[in-house]
Amino acid sequence: MEAPAKEQPKEPRKLIVSIGPHVHDTESTAKIMWTVSGALLPATLMSVYYFGMPAILVMLVCLISSMVSEAAVQWMLKKPITITDGSAFLTGLLLAMNLPANVPLYIPAVGSFVAIVITKHLFGGLGFNIFNPALIGRAFVLISFPKLMTTYVEPTMRVMAMDAKTTATPLVLLKEEGMAKLLEVFHTKAALYQDLFLGNRAGSLGETSVIMLLLGAAFLLMKRYITWHVPLPFIATVGILSWLFGGKEGLMTGDAIFHMMSGGLILGAFFMATDYVTGPSVRSAQVLFGISCGALTVLIRLKGGYPEGVMFAILLMNCFAPLLDRGMRSPVFGKAEAKGVKK
């Protein structure tokens, strides 16, 4: 075999040197945020269909003020501006989903400010916030403007729905006047379930249409952006506990289906409690987190001062997420076996 005679020339080309791995899958923070936002599209469209122009305005104000707040605070803190990563957009959208359609437009603006500036950036920005920004934004405006925030309108299915009639949400009806009154309004159980499922009821923008929310959730589950570990135990716990304790005629007479479909449960369980940053990331911890959220939700709904408990339940559990992660991490490969080995 003949040997190449000449010296090897030094390679003039600049090669990139870095520590591996040298390949990466196709996911990125921005892709995840925008995809989750996209998964809310069906529910968004449905809310526009039901509530018309006011819904669009609330959403626009939320989105714009969230993104402007983020850019402004990052500019002031001299940090790189990251509004293209979709996380502020998603926070704005989720906040909008949690507001009634007919609120004065300073409410979404204030809510967005509290969500982005106080809850997210004053805690260190993306990844460092303890509480779900959209939920804190909503809690803040709910407490600051209790009257406005609990005045819901009937779905009108008209574009210019400025004159929509105000009405109580199904959960309020149940809490204050009982199941009989609820049935009077919706006529039959089947009609009640159907309206809840489709979204033809008073409520916050995004929480009304169960079917549209499930559509988006199914997509996220399929893409594995979220897993069942939080939402399933969350919703199941609400179902079981409200069936056990939610009825007027004693144990096991509650209406589980009603409780699972009403309020912000579906929205909260699939889109808010699954927030990566503010929930646990260890799978077993997520299950416990979901169960706890469900139990707290029912406790607030049945015994608390508010008709709906999803928001406070998730916020409360947000505090415990890091603790759950620490307490429930799975044993390291070979750690149990290591005890028996002499070194």
């Binding site: 520590i19 899958d25 991490r329 799975s330 390291v332 490969f333």
Partner: protein, 443 residues
């Protein structure tokens, strides 16, 4: 075949990067040109470097020892070509620094050193004699770990070995050198395994192969047909299935304790290439002077498998594979998950070089990393069941001790966590840094 049932035995975690093996898997290995100048590092293994036993100007023959061991965990180094020693000194090494090496200029004759002992009746040799041959032949783990093989073959008495596993998983994307070796030299691998089993007095041998190489499974099964004590074992296609602990879990269903070695659970794992090298050493008396090397990636014009001499410069092999493409941007020694990128293409092939991967510009990830969004993907991916996200957060802030409490030392730097991280966080880089810092503090 009964064994296919076991393709589902695996470990928890892991990732599925694109295999990209089709670039070179179907190409039979060709002998690379003998290098005009072979740069042979004196350290090609984990452990004590060897000491040069040649001087400048000395004529050497192929297979002649040029570096002698200086400790127990060490392996001698041999000339891979015949010619003259023209330099002794520090030369670029694929570990990313200049390390002592012997440079030999070829005389074009490629002659073996005299006195190599062929032995058709090697079956009559005692385990001790066999082990001596393995040591003298300079054989190390050829999957990339480069741990001196003879050390693994002499476990302490209180740790009896009952299983030998040959690693033919080749779970790193792109690489096909073990795959080709299994197709082209199956009998040598099986005979090498038998020698290993004889040395260790073991009755159970396995050859673990990822199920994405059905032809290798078939070929190896045929080669092992006459040996009921050897089983070919397809394992699930998942990175890092070929990591020692993961392979032992999948095949022997034993969990190597954290911080312990395979021998603590009675297992010795060797790469298929190592087995082949052992056979060659025992049967023909030839030390380790060449190996299979895959040169691949979309940054080389014709990806190929080579049988290359130790000491062959990367650039030569790349040129024999058609050369770099216009947009070639990164050259990696080894696979894309755990391999090391190179800035100098004069670095030589060493005993642990399974491949040279060249990535074009558009395949090089140059995203800046962002904050951890606590998505938990890394936790799901980690084969050691660590919490890589926390390791990252602690190390980023310089809290190495905290990282240690969260099992930093159990991380074997497989890269699965970084591979899946949407924020592109460089966990492996941080882990390496933290381990270094902690070691510094200890001293």
């Amino acid at each position: 075949m009964e064994a296919t049932m076991n393709a589902h035995d695996t470990f928890s975690g892991g990732v599925h990067p694109a295999g990209n093996k089709q670039l070179s898997a179907h190409k039979p290995a060709v002998a690379a040109a003998i290098p005009a100048r072979a740069v042979i590092p004196l350290s090609q293994h984990i452990g004590a470097p060897t000491k040069a036993v040649v001087v400048i100007g000395q004529e050497v023959k192929k297979g002649e020892k040029i570096g002698e061991t200086t400790g127990f965990v060490s392996a001698p180094v041999h000339a891979s070509i015949s010619g003259k020693v023209v330099a002794l000194g520090n030369f670029p090494h694929s570990l990313g620094m200049d390390l002592p090496a012997v440079v030999i200029e070829s005389d074009g004759k490629d002659e073996w050193v005299a006195g190599l002992k062929e032995n058709a009746d090697y079956a009559l040799l005692s385990p001790e004699e066999l082990k001596k041959i393995v040591l003298e032949a300079g054989i190390v783990g050829m999957g990339g770990a480069t741990f001196p093989t003879h050390v693994k073959l002499g476990p302490p008495k209180e740790k009896p070995i009952d299983v030998v596993i040959l690693n033919g998983a080749e779970c790193e994307p792109y690489l096909t050198s073990d795959h080709r070796l299994m197709l082209e030299r199956p009998q040598q691998i099986v005979d090498g395994l038998k020698i290993l089993m004889r040395i260790l007095g073991v009755k159970k041998g396995y050859i673990g192969i990822e199920a994405n190489k059905p032809d290798a499974v078939e070929t190896m099964t045929k080669a092992a047909a006459g040996s009921p004590e050897i089983k070919v074992w397809p394992v699930k296609v998942k990175y890092p299935q070929g990591a020692e602990k993961m392979l032992i879990k999948a095949i022997a269903h034993r969990t190597v304790p954290a911080g312990a070695l395979p021998m603590d659970v009675g297992v010795v794992v060797q790469n298929v290439g190592t087995a082949e090298a052992i056979y060659t050493a025992v049967r023909y008396g030839r030390p380790l002077v060449e190996r299979y090397v895959t040169v691949t990636g979309r940054g080389v014009k014709e990806p190929k498998n080579f049988l290359a001499r130790i000491g062959t410069p990367f650039l030569q092999l790349i040129e024999e594979a058609g050369g770099l493409t216009e947009d070639a941007a990164k050259v990696i020694a080894g696979g894309p998950m755990m391999g090391m990128s190179q800035h100098d293409l004069t670095v030589p092939v060493i005993k642990g070089t399974s491949g040279i991967l060249v990535l074009p510009k558009n395949e090089v990830v140059v995203k800046p990393y962002g904050p951890c969004i606590r998505c938990g993907r890394c936790i799901d991916a980690c084969p050691m069941m660590l919490q890589p996200s926390l390791l990252g957060i602690y190390i980023e802030k310089g809290h190495y001790q905290d990282a240690k409490e969260f099992n930093l030392m159990d991380c074997f730097e497989c890269g699965s966590c970084t591979y899946v991280c949407p924020a592109n966080r460089p966990m492996v880089q941080w882990v390496k840094k933290a381990k270094k810092e902690l070691a510094k503090k200890k001293n």
